[in-house]
Assembly symmetry: C2
């Protein structure tokens, strides 16, 4: 027996399908007579009626579904940053009564992910989480595509352009400066920057900030003290070996641009039998303070990732539900969480 539908109920009660729809959905409005409404409700219950959300969505032209787009090759769920953001997203979703559609990279065979998302019309909007595999150009392109396709979206992380979009991030230049300030205040003068790739927007921002901070104290960030690992453990080791080879000029503190790099650094330190912060101080960007199981506990400039997810989702849903609200750009404050590494 197929699932009962509106018209089945209608038939049984002797009214039109529309009437049933009204009675069921428009709650306490007086569109349907009290007696009939009661009867309808009774029969619906009795027949075990559940609406077909698909049909509803088609008719209403909204699904209460938000799509998630994460440009990342690696499995996204292992990524702590993404996990945090997702939790924030979930919390807002739950509150506002939406659900999340996680697109599988290249969902349909033989079709690019982005195409698939564009085409879909399955969601009311998209949440984009930028990752380290996004160049500035990628991001800009995506924004343009989304705009011409008239798809509402909200972006998290790593956009420093000026297009009027819904965006939540942190001020990484400011963060870089804060990193410099902090390390200098701890007496460091030889500060190195371990980064992923010079082509990343965040790299540029952090570098700018670091330089600004160092300059205030008459210090600088020589190219030799900036290392880009391309997120490769081996390259990280090579860079670090070089830094530490020169006894006179070795850095006394290292600032890492993200968690992955911090982990590589930890691996290195362990492998070389060094100790933090005795042999070198470490300040990390973006590491969660609580719930973190890393040892030693990193001293970090923590990015409020959970909140970012929440906020981005709120902004997107607002944009969907009230088309008049203007796109917003929000930069959240970061926070210094003391660990034992700096």
């Amino acid at each position: 027996m197929a699932a009962p539908k509106l018209s089945d109920i209608a038939k049984r009660v002797g009214v039109s399908a529309a009437a049933v729809s009204l009675a069921l959905n428009k709650g306490e409005t007086t569109r349907v007579g009290a007696a009939k409404r009661a009867e309808i409700l009774r029969v619906a219950e009795e027949m075990g009626y559940y609406p077909n959300e698909l049909a509803k969505a088609l008719a209403e032209r909204k699904t209460r579904l938000l799509g998630l787009m994460v440009p990342l090759r690696d499995p996204i769920f292992f990524n702590q940053f993404i996990a945090q953001a997702l939790s924030g997203i979930q919390s807002t979703l739950m509150q506002r009564g939406y659900n999340l559609l996680v697109y599988s990279p290249s969902g349909k065979p033989g079709r690019a992910t982005r195409d698939q998302i564009m085409e879909s019309r399955f969601t009311d909007g998209l949440i984009l989480i930028n990752t380290r595999s996004c160049t500035a150009q990628d991001v800009t392109d995506t924004i343009n595509e989304l705009n011409t396709a008239q798809i509402r979206f909200s972006m998290i992380n790593s956009y420093y352009g000026r297009a009027p979009i819904n965006y939540v991030g942190v001020d990484d230049a400011k963060l870089g400066e804060a990193a410099a300030d902090y390390l200098i205040s701890k007496g460091h003068r030889k500060i190195a920057f371990l980064s992923g790739s010079a082509t990343l927007p965040v790299h540029a921002q952090l570098t700018k900030g670091l330089q600004r901070g160092l300059a205030k104290h008459g210090l600088s960030l020589p190219p030799a003290r900036v290392g880009c690992t391309q997120y490769d453990g081996g390259r990280a080791f090579k860079i670090l070996d070089e830094w530490f080879a020169n006894q006179r000029n070795r850095p006394t503190a290292i600032f890492t641009a993200d968690e992955q790099l911090l982990l590589h650094l930890y691996d290195y330190v362990e492998a070389r039998g060094m100790s933090v912060p005795d042999d070198v101080s470490v300040l990390a960007r973006g590491n969660v303070g609580s719930g973190d199981r890393l040892r030693p506990r990193p001293t970090s400039l923590v990015i409020p990732t959970f909140r970012m997810g929440q906020l981005a989702t709120e902004m997107l849903i607002d944009a969907i539900e009230k088309p008049k609200v203007k796109p917003q750009r929000v930069l959240l404050p970061f926070e210094l969480v003391a660990g034992s590494t700096a």
Copy 2:
């Protein structure tokens, strides 16, 4: 300008909407003349046509969407077990061209999560991941509900019943026995079991296995050496303090039922200034070997969570696409991963 639809193309080319649908979707069948087909394709491309998946889904009565149901209060994305399973799920999803719908607990205001999922008809099937908040009764109830609602599903973890459903898990009794075997082979005779709650199905299975293993060597598992923390750090400390208070009878090895418990144990050891495995050996269940950042590295009986996700998803999709295939129950093998704790 609204998104172009099938009928728009039809009008421009001078054919019916149906013809366009055929030309676009039914590939190389000869339903449409070659010339017309080419023309249609051209115009579709030119107008930037993308099908409305929603309408398509309604007509075809399938969405290529799988729903995820995780009975857990805490944010699911922080849970490493779930993250692993999700990654496996994703990998199959990607391969088979499906996407994942993550229901927000209580997606719609004023409606229970389960109801919402039942009603939805938005997905072609459901993937359930059981967690430690599921009693055997919960699981059974869910299965019954799903079956009467005629919803296809595939279940991961912690079902030891006999209903013919798609299920992927591990044999926890066997795992418990293996734990006992291993620890005994290392010379331990006083083995304690740190668990979450005696009401959990997994607890019963592990206990059974441990007892079986211990019995083979004339040993036993006295109630005093079974501790249930209810996943509360304080209670864990209390239990451990009791175990270690008695110099003569203190356990020389502890088997932990899951990762959460292991973490509590690590906290305890750190807090009390003890060291593993010098003061006590530790064997953990279910901890991932690689990519794990725990120190010391736990010796674990690792559950192939990623594979479980993959397999469950494959089974579900098979069930959806070929209704004739019978439900399958798969128990995957676990694996001993040597760490430094036992």
